[in-house]
């Protein structure tokens, strides 16, 4: 019995030592601090960024021999920036040009879509040696939306058309938008000469159903939300270009591209391939159909054969 016990102890000690010597890359865990062949991708807490991060991650794993790990649930754009800046991560899957400009580059918002995109590309390259790929093909802006039958009834096409109905319409908005610096409600009133006596601030997730059930007549939501398509909501055109663009693209630390030159053509395959309706549909599947972002990403890539046609 005692001899047996001695052996057991020996086995335990050897096992522990074996594990402790491999401490930098623990078996079974793709570590965010891990080896050379692990590409680390950041994602926010938002559904959209998690879907995009999973698409990027699965594309890399499927088309190359590299491993990937997703650094998930980062709280904000500055936090993602810090992760890339400190080389805790290699790729920021969803970088919105409007957000990068104001939050990370510390520059004033630019309302011209192309100019904003080009400025971000130039600045991140100069300041942080990063590559900002052209957009996936969708842009996550604030957008005013109404029910289609209401739009027809009052002939609403642009935001300025709301002038006709501002007194009787109730407006539902995200509470964080009301006081947003530069693009908040006050500035909006000034830019469009509109004022809604019946305005309610609420959680952004609630505005779509508030509109659908008729509790609100017009709401401000995100343009990529899945419920826009499923409720057939009508988006009003920002005819005075009040809201700055938030085109979504991929941000990559250049050292990764230098170390792994085969990566760039693969990542470029996604440029222009995720349109507005596609991302809305995927957002819908995650938010309302209880599918995981990774499941949705897998279906998307398989359906498009990992974009192999585009070289």
């Amino acid at each position: 019995m005692k001899k047996y016990f001695k052996k057991l102890l020996l086995v335990i000690i050897v096992f522990l030592l074996a594990i402790s010597t491999t401490a930098c890359g623990l078996p079974g865990l793709s570590s965010a601090q891990g080896g050379n062949d692990t590409i680390r991708i950041t994602a926010l807490t938002t559904t959209e960024s998690q879907i995009v991060a999973n698409i990027v991650s699965q594309l890399i794993e499927h088309e190359t021999h590299y491993k990937t790990s997703i650094v998930n649930n980062l709280g904000s754009a500055p936090m993602q920036h810090q992760a890339l800046y400190r080389h805790n991560a290699d790729i920021q899957a969803a970088a919105y040009d409007g957000g990068e400009l104001t939050a990370n580059l510390g520059m004033p918002a630019i309302k011209n879509s192309k100019k904003a995109n080009d400025t971000v590309r130039y600045e991140v390259k100069k300041r942080w040696d990063q590559t900002y790929l052209p957009t996936y093909g969708f842009s996550d802006n604030y957008a005013f939306m109404v029910k289609p039958e209401e739009a027809k009834k009052y002939n609403l096409k642009d935001i300025s058309d709301l002038k006709k109905v501002e007194d009787k319409y109730s407006l539902g908005v995200a509470s964080e938008w009301v006081n947003a610096p530069g693009v908040g409600y006050k500035e909006f009133e000034k830019a469009y000469g509109l004022s809604f006596p019946k305005m309610r601030a609420m959680n952004i997730g609630l505005v779509y159903s508030a509109l659908q059930t008729g509790r609100m007549n017009v709401v401000l939501g995100y343009s990529t939300d899945g419920r826009i398509d499923s409720y057939h909501l009508k988006l009003l055109k920002d005819n005075r270009h009040f809201f700055p663009p938030y085109n979504c693209g991929m941000l990559i630390n250049n050292y990764v591209l230098r170390e792994h030159p085969d990566l760039k053509p693969i990542l470029r395959r996604l440029v222009g391939r995720i349109g507005m309706h596609t991302i809305r549909h995927m957002n819908y599947e995650v938010d309302d159909e209880l599918l995981e972002p990774s499941t949705v990403a897998h279906q998307f890539l398989v359906k498009n054969n990992y974009f192999r046609d585009k070289k």
Binding site: L16, Q33, T42, T47, N73, L206, E292
Partner: protein
């Protein structure tokens, strides 16, 4: 989807994301196990050492106690400053938290071994090392394993919070549930396996305890 009850949604979720949940379950489990293993590597020798140098005992236990009082999210952030985002940060945090139950139980177990038994061991001409692994360790094994059990259950809880620094695991599903508009089913989908893991880990260690404690001591 909103027509289904929360439990129907819960089942639907598993039917469609089974592979993903399994992957995250695996991840959470590994992170917790690694954390506790490292704590055991450090904690058990330290416990044995301070049991023999009892003037150090209070001091070391006090330090471990101090670590335990730091809220888990705060400790996670402190470790993150040094190690950055990712899995290793969580493993280190889990290790730090697991130190107290392991050190304390090893210390207590060692100290509570009957003096007369040790004396008779000495009388038989045992060396210090023989006394340790033939007398002291077997006699205190059940107390040490109780400490490991305690540590593992704490570790599984902390690993869920580790999703905030990008470590992944079942916590990811819970956080997604808290962000979604109708996330009740998602929160359950993450929380139920986490709780299950803690219970199963406890049961497995109970068996391990029965198996590892010498026959003469089993009662």
């Amino acid at each position: 989807m909103s027509k289904l009850s929360i439990w129907q949604q819960f089942i639907y979720y598993y039917q469609h994301n089974g592979a993903y949940v399994l992957q995250q379950f695996d991840r959470t489990f590994l992170i917790s196990i690694y954390g506790v293993l490292f704590a055991a590597i450090i904690g058990i020798p330290v416990g044995i050492f301070i049991a023999r140098n009892s003037h150090l005992g209070d001091f070391v236990v006090e330090i471990a106690n101090f670590i335990q009082t730091i809220p888990s999210l705060a400790l996670l952030s402190i470790v993150m400053i040094g190690l950055g985002l990712g899995v290793n940060t969580v493993i280190v945090t889990v290790t730090l938290y697991s130190l107290l139950p392991i050190i304390k139980n090893t210390y207590t177990g060692m100290r509570s071994v009957d003096k007369n038994v040790i004396d008779s061991g000495k009388g038989m001409g045992m060396t210090n090392l023989q006394l340790l692994y033939m007398v002291r360790l077997p006699l205190s094994m059940s107390v040490i394993i109780a400490g490991l059990k305690n540590a593992l259950v704490i570790a599984i809880g902390i690993t869920s919070i580790g999703s905030f620094v990008g470590a992944g695991g079942l916590g990811d599903i819970i956080i997604r549930g808290t962000n979604a508009t109708n996330g009740g089913a998602l929160i359950l989908a993450g929380a139920v396996p986490t709780a299950l893991m803690a219970i199963v880990a406890d049961i497995i260690l109970n068996f391990a305890e029965k198996w590892i404690v010498p026959k003469g001591l089993r009662e």
